[in-house]
């Protein structure tokens, strides 16, 4: 089955659903690690939207955006995991509701 046969609306709907799932994860999970993972889902949802739009119009721009987001996500994960490691060492917990030192 050819990808081009799938209507764009379905792809966009799927992409939105994944985005909302990721977003809900960011807002609802308390573990920093899971928040980071939810962020990855959000990014992937966006990637899916780009790729499907590119395929629909027969342009390469969507794939190029996907490459960019992929490298950004890789960098983000490496920095994010490093930070999470440090947070765990310093505070002994990854619960964001307990990591509230920075407040007015």
């Amino acid at each position: 089955m050819n990808a081009a046969n799938i209507p764009l609306d379905h792809l966009m709907l799927l992409s939105c659903m994944i985005f909302v799932i990721g977003l809900a994860g960011v807002m609802m999970r308390r573990n920093v690690l899971y928040i980071l993972m939810s962020l990855e889902i959000v990014l992937n949802a966006v990637c899916l939207a780009f790729v499907s739009a590119g395929a629909h119009w027969g342009k390469a721009d969507g794939q190029i955006m996907f490459m960019l987001i992929l490298s950004l996500a890789a960098a983000e994960v490496s920095v994010g995991l490093g930070l999470i490691l440090q947070i765990h060492r310093k505070h002994g917990t990854l619960d964001v509701d307990r990591l509230k030192e920075l407040q007015g």
């Binding site: 977003l23 960011v26 807002m27 964001v96 509230k100 920075l102 007015g104």
Partner: protein
């Protein structure tokens, strides 16, 4: 020879610098202090004799030494205006000044500030000579402020007592009120005439194109304000009794003989302005009349020997103002001169009493000093006799006589009868002082005698006080013919009255003294007496009306009322910041939620609106 007149200022000024910079020991300081003034006086007397023998054609001369400031047409110079009025004033300043310098060398002996004292005294002589010699308003103002400064420094000479410092500040601030009025008057003169040359202003004030009645009235009243402040007249008379905190020779020189008469000199010098403004001249007369009566009544009931003399000085300057007010110009200057002699004599005699009685000034602790201090007694009686204007043998009689005849001729009978009542009061209070201090049983014994350099000035001033009436001032070219010189008849009666009046006053004082009525009680005295003693409660009035509201304002403003607007802005910003900082919770999930909410809001707005 006339060119040497600058030495009269420069020599004392030189003495001031030497004494200030080197602070020499007592004997050297006394020689420098007296020597510079003596040299100035000698040069001045030579110049005066030369001037009298062959006077310049116009009756005056201007000696120009250089330009002080040069801005376009504004060219005030260091130049001396020399006429008989200037020379008369200079002779009084340097002559009496020299005698008081010599006296001070004895009076101030073993005072730790001896050199400082003489440096101030020399600076005073220099400033006072600048004041009377100035040919432009700027130079006159410099001299005017210079003598004010010296007065301040010398009243507060014994600065370790806070009361003396307060008296000095009071004198400085109260006279500053008058000076402010005076300098506004100067500015108005400059605006009108575009020059600050005094002679030029006075000459042009006669010209029709500059004639402006209301302007002259305002300017003359402003100048009167300055004169009133400096000469301690109503309503700025309150500083002079407190100024007695200074050393007694200072009171003799500055607060009796010379500086306080600067107001009289100013009005006499600018008399054409006052003649253009009859209203202002009338005001001068009324100021003088009220002051002489108020101060005379206060002098009757004082118990401090120096305060009695201070009030009598205010009262006598009141006579000079009265003379100026009725147009008896030269009579006022004549009274200024005789007053300088006999009041300096009185202050120096009082100084001798104070010196020999260990700085006691309360007359209730004195008495019977007639036999113990015969020379002081003699000089005191001469001074008081002259003050009371005992007929024929005292100088005060001739000068006061002229003023009162001028008042009679002016037609304003209030001036004449007020002056007559004042003369009676003067006679009573001066001889009350003599009787209380020198008669009766001795209460305090003098423990040391006055030194020779204190006695000689007393003798010389005593001679001047007796003979001063014979001096004929040649002021006719400078001042207009006075109202006392015009004959209107009826003078026989007035002369008889003025001869009898002081004798009645002395008799009354003696009668009161024999009856034990000396008005010296401090407790249980009648309210009116205490009211007079407090100088008609002018101090209390000014405290209530001016000082206390001002202090209240200052206290209120201690926390900077004007700044409250700016601090309110700062407070508001701080409050807003506090409100905003509540939202910084530190909760990442909260931030994410708000971000998404906001993003959704903006996006929906963009899509649906």
């Amino acid at each position: 020879m006339l060119n040497a007149i600058a030495c009269v200022t420069l020599l004392p000024l030189f003495g001031f610098f030497v004494l200030t910079l080197l602070r020499p020991p007592e004997r050297v300081a006394a020689w420098i202090g007296c020597g510079t003034v003596a040299a100035a006086a000698a040069i001045l007397f030579t110049i005066t004799i030369g001037f009298l023998q062959n006077p310049p054609a116009e009756g005056h001369a201007v000696v120009h030494y250089g330009t002080w400031v040069g801005i376009g047409s504004f060219q005030p110079g260091f130049s001396a205006w020399v006429d008989m009025l200037t020379l008369t004033m200079l002779c009084i300043i340097t002559g009496v000044g020299f005698l008081i310098h010599v006296y001070s060398a004895g009076y101030m002996v073993r005072d730790e500030g001896f050199a400082r004292y003489f440096s101030y005294l020399n600076l005073f002589i220099a400033a006072m000579t600048v004041l009377v010699m100035a040919d432009n308003l700027l130079l006159l103002f410099m001299g005017w402020e210079g003598v004010g400064l010296c007065s301040y420094l010398l009243i507060g000479f014994w600065y370790r007592d806070p009361a003396n410092g307060a008296a000095a500040r009071k004198a400085f601030i109260v006279t500053r009120v008058g000076d402010t009025a005076m300098i506004i008057g100067f500015f108005m003169l400059y605006l009108q005439f575009s020059t600050i040359d005094i002679a030029e202003i006075l000459r042009r004030s006669h010209e029709a194109i500059y004639f402006n009645q209301s302007l002259y009235t305002v300017v003359a009243l402003l100048l009167l304000g300055g004169a009133v402040g400096k000469s301690a007249q109503l309503p700025l008379q309150t500083w002079l009794p407190d100024a007695m905190a200074g050393p007694t020779p200072v009171s003799a020189l500055i607060h009796a003989a010379t500086m306080v008469t600067a107001g009289v000199y100013l009005i006499a010098r600018t008399h054409p302005l006052f003649m253009q403004a009859p209203l202002a001249q009338h005001a001068v007369g009324w100021v003088g009349l009220l002051t002489l009566l108020i101060a005379g009544a206060s002098a009757l009931v004082q118990v401090d020997i120096k305060r009695i003399l201070a009030y009598s000085t205010i009262s006598q300057i009141g006579y000079m103002f009265l003379g100026l007010g009725v147009g008896a110009w030269s009579a006022s200057i004549f009274h200024l001169m005789t007053h300088a002699f006999f009041k300096a004599l009185l202050f120096l005699s009082a100084g001798t009493v104070i010196f020999c009685l260990h700085h006691k000034q309360d007359i209730t602790e004195m008495g019977g000093l007639r036999k113990l201090m015969p020379l002081t007694f003699a000089s005191f009686v001469i001074g008081c006799g002259s003050l009371a204007s005992l007929p024929l043998i005292t100088s005060g009689f001739y000068s006061k006589d002229e003023i009162l005849i001028g008042a009679w001729n002016s037609g304003e009978m209030a001036f004449f009868w007020g002056g007559v009542v004042g003369a009676l009061i003067t006679a009573v209070y001066s001889f009350r002082l003599v009787f209380v201090v020198f008669f009766g049983a001795p209460k305090t014994h003098p423990d040391h005698a006055p030194t020779l350099n204190m006695q000689v000035p007393l003798v010389l001033l005593g001679i001047l006080s007796v003979m001063g009436g014979a001096i004929h001032l040649r002021l006719d070219g400078v001042l207009p013919i006075g109202s006392h010189e015009v004959s209107t008849g009826g003078h026989g009666m007035i002369s008889a009255l003025l001869i009898v009046l002081p004798l009645v006053g002395v008799a009354l004082a003696w009668w009161l003294y024999r009856r034990g009525i000396t008005w010296t009680k401090t407790t249980g005295a009648p309210a009116a007496m205490l009211f007079f003693r407090r100088g008609w409660a002018f101090d209390a009035l000014y405290d209530a009306v001016l000082v206390h509201p001002w202090v209240w304002l200052a206290t209120v403003n201690r926390s900077d009322v004007v700044d409250s607007g700016y601090t309110a802005v700062a407070r508001l910003t701080q409050w807003l910041y506090q409100q905003a900082s509540i939202t910084q919770t530190g909760s990442v999930r909260w931030y994410a939620g708000v971000m998404i909410f906001g993003f959704t809001l903006i996006l929906s707005a963009a899509v649906f609106l």
